[in-house]
Amino acid sequence: MAGSQRVYKQRIKSTQSLKKMFRAQELIAASRIGRARDRVALASPYSRAITRAVSAVATHSDVTHPFLAQRTDTNRVALLLIASDRGMAGAYSATVLRETERQIEKLQAEGREVDLYVSGRRAVSYFSFRQRELAGQWIGQSDAPQYETALEIADTLLERFRAPADEGGVAEVHVVFTQFVNMVTQRPRVIRLLPLEVVEGVAPAGDGGPLPLYDFEPDPETVLDALLPRYFRARIFASLLQAAASELAARQRAMHTATDNAEDLIRTYTRLANQARQGEITQEISEIVSGADALASAS
């Protein structure tokens, strides 16, 4: 009996220290998420300005650009997956990985060869455990992406898109990431970034209104040539920032639930421990009483 009491005490103790850890993780995520959301908001003027400029060029001139044209010389496509470096974020990584698998299956059903590019340690270990080859990987800053990393990722993918077919060029670039809708909802999204969809570019961006007749300096081709890589980089960076905010939100929620569960467990174990203690006392008393009874009847 004394044994079971000790076991419960031990469990309560370990659950309490786990609870402290969950709580700390929750608070860390909560304090970082504000910053992550600010960064999403801060980066949006840039992408808005670029999107508007791209629409302006696309509507006012009939220039073509390799980034806008469908490639038919290869059936290889690149898929960039943005996941997290660490776990403890509930279903965050699992969801985005499932979405990726679905997308890979879909592309392969269309007869395409998929090259995987992965950001986030969780996703890297997922694929290396399954011995799937990765064409590129970036790890270490999934919850606070730097612009330099986005540049590196974007330039790697752009280079592959520009490369000729026999040197491993890709015809399309897709991105799977988690969109931050609000604190409770984060949605996995799959978007095709290259070739850029002109439909998207022609739609008046954001604040609307007809676009003015621009003069292009030095000419529309050069402007477009300068704009499109920046547009692509901005989209990659925006995806990374969205994913980071989603990761933190998912982590905060998961850790909050874990803390609650730990509290429930502690309560259950405390009750069991009390019961065990009470049982022990009752047994002791009945032993004493029966001992005294035996002595009394013996004399």
Binding site: A49, F216, E217
Partner: protein, 92 residues
């Protein structure tokens, strides 16, 4: 009053400067261009060079930019840059 420009200077990470200005001078593809209120809409690629803004209060701001682009549209100037060094303020 159509004599002031709305200027937004942004880089990838955020908004660098925003406000009213009298004049903007930027290193466009064909050479330094000056923009005053009422300028025709223009989209231009920027070279490496110096971007100067004279604010509505008459203060001179200057940045060194590595490249980017500039759009002018009904007295709203948007300068999008890749990288820039800190503004240097000088009295006018």
């Amino acid at each position: 009053m159509a004599s002031s420009l709305e200027v937004d200077l942004v880089d990838a990470v955020g908004k660098v400067w925003s406000g009213k200005a009298r004049q903007v001078s930027a290193p466009a593809a064909d050479g330094q261009i000056g923009i005053l209120a009422g300028h025709t809409p223009i989209l231009s690629v920027l070279r490496e060079g110096e971007l100067r803004v004279q604010t509505a209060e008459g203060e001179q701001l200057a940045w060194h930019v590595d490249g980017g682009f500039l759009s002018v549209d009904s007295d709203t100037v948007t300068v999008v840059v890749d990288a820039l060094s800190d503004p240097t303020t000088s009295d006018h």
